[in-house]
């Protein structure tokens, strides 16, 4: 334990002795880690992955009408799983179903408040409503009993409509070109996720690769600069293995620090994409990737440090 603590203290000392270089190097890895985190998120949200349902796309307030009365309310395009977790409970009719999503059925759940506003005392079930210009059928009435969708503005009022994510995209395409009644459609992240994977995969790979190359160069420079100090350590009893380990540890530390910064920045700048329960495993995986890149980048410099001939280094002026 003492050994590890000493090695850590020494590595930190070496890192902090060159703050500029460390920060620049870590930045490269950080960008890579942030891109990797986005990629992991995108992969999870992709069509094949059902581990974490997409956060709902909130289409800005749209005009909803049943032909007699109308109201401007929030429309949530989401998945059955997301809706269930958000606490959207069908009190009449049925909740969203997987088939609604698969077939992009034009079905909607309306909030209990909206039901009273549009239909009064009549039943709303199976009645048609217009959302923007698109015609939907009411299949259920919900009460909001849960935490909502998370993130800023994620709470669901009962003056709202919930539709399958796939058909929500249709509304958006109907209303967005003309800037129709709902105005411009923004923040439709859910539907955009599969495309995000294609963007972030090469970005993550390239930035991690370049970050790793940068780190390797920086570590090599550090080893060359510290030639005499390393030789001194060897002269007072450090083995090749110890020198190798300390150098590798330093590289892993810089990589992890960059990764941590990247993950934190990614979560801070873009909290919505990670839902209410931020995917801890995604962040951990991105961090582990950064540490791995650090280890890979540190390998060659560590070998060089370990192979250094202490006698020659101590004699050179």
């Amino acid at each position: 334990m003492t050994r590890l603590r000493d090695a850590l203290a020494r590595c930190l000392g070496s890192i902090l002795a060159r703050p500029g270089r460390t920060a620049l190097t870590a930045f490269g890895i950080g960008v890579g880690a942030a891109a990797a985190l986005q990629l992991l998120d995108a992969l999870q949200d992709g069509p094949g992955a059902v581990r974490r349902p997409a956060p709902p796309a909130r289409i800005p307030r749209l005009m909803v009408s049943n032909g007699e009365r109308s109201s401007r309310v929030a429309v949530w395009a989401t998945t059955p799983e997301s809706a269930r977790r958000a606490g959207i409970v069908a009190v009449e009719g049925r909740p969203l179903a997987a088939l609604d999503l698969r077939d992009a059925r034009r079905v909607a759940l309306i909030g209990a408040g909206l039901r009273a506003e549009l239909f009064g005392l009549q039943s709303a079930l199976l009645r048609p409503i217009e959302i923007g210009d698109a015609r939907f059928t009411v299949v259920g009435v919900f009460e909001a009993r849960g935490p909502g969708f998370g993130g800023a503005g994620g709470s669901v009022s009962e003056l709202a409509v919930v539709v399958p994510e796939s058909s929500g995209a249709e509304i958006a395409s109907l209303v967005s070109p003309a800037g129709g009644p709902g105005g411009p459609v923004g923040g439709r992240r859910g539907a955009a996720r599969p495309g995000a994977a294609a963007v972030f995969a090469p970005l993550a790979a390239i930035s991690l690769l370049l970050g790793g190359v940068g780190l390797a160069c920086a570590m090599l420079a550090t080893v060359v600069e510290r030639t005499r100090e390393i030789a001194l350590r060897r002269a007072v009893g450090a083995t090749r293995g110890e020198v190798f380990g300390e150098c590798l540890l330093e590289s892993v530390l810089v990589g992890s620090a960059g990764g941590l910064a990247g993950v934190v920045a990614s979560l801070a700048l873009d909290p919505g994409s990670h839902g209410a329960g931020a995917p801890a495993w995604g962040a951990a995986a991105a961090l582990a990737l950064a540490a791995l890149v650090g280890a890979a980048a540190g390998l060659a410099p560590a070998v060089r440090a370990a192979r250094l001939d202490p006698a020659r280094a101590l004699r050179a002026e």
Partner: protein, 246 residues
Amino acid sequence: MSVELEGVRAGRRLGAAERSSGEGVSLRIERGEYVAILGPSGAGKSTLLELLGLLTRPDAGVHRIDGARVDALPDAERARLRGRRIGLVFESSWLAPELSLLENVELPLVYQRLSPAQRRERAAGILGELGLGAHLRRRPGDLAPGERRRAAFARACVGGADLLLADEPTRGLDGREADEIMDWLDTRSALGATVVVATRDPARGCRARRLVHLRNGQLLRELPPGLRSGSRGLVARTPRGRARWR
């Protein structure tokens, strides 16, 4: 610690084949001996010290410490031996500039895996003995050359080395500073450590009880202490025949 070299060759200089019939350097140093290696610049003194300090592996020959061969030991064991039993003082003192004096002297103890408290106590103790107790937190750059040299000796001795190797220990120091260093070597020798000093200036600061001459990577005849070169110069036998020692 007793040390034995048998037909050792190392590097370009020491026991170099093109300068001799290739028999290398043979030298035996008994436990507790105080030996000075004399010779002009380029004679291989530093290489010999690096060899004795296990920093360099011999290219040929046998190196024994306390009767056990060390030339073929794996690196980790040589490093451990070097850290625990051998203290090295290099020509330019070689303290790490970004570490405080205390941290520099603690360095060998780090690799002996002592706890921080033990390290601090021992390093501060030996620095105190060498009159540097007031400078524990200062960087080597802030010190006088003599103080740096003393700190280097503190680092060499802090691990309990019983073989002390010093390359030009008094070079660049004034008379008083040099005397302090030589007194310290006397003390370590009196305490039972084997001491080997390399210097090109036999007249000054060498209080060794045994003198070994090295020239062109070859050992020349040893002289008893006190007998210095006269007007005729030293005459010694080399494998090629007779050579003059100026």
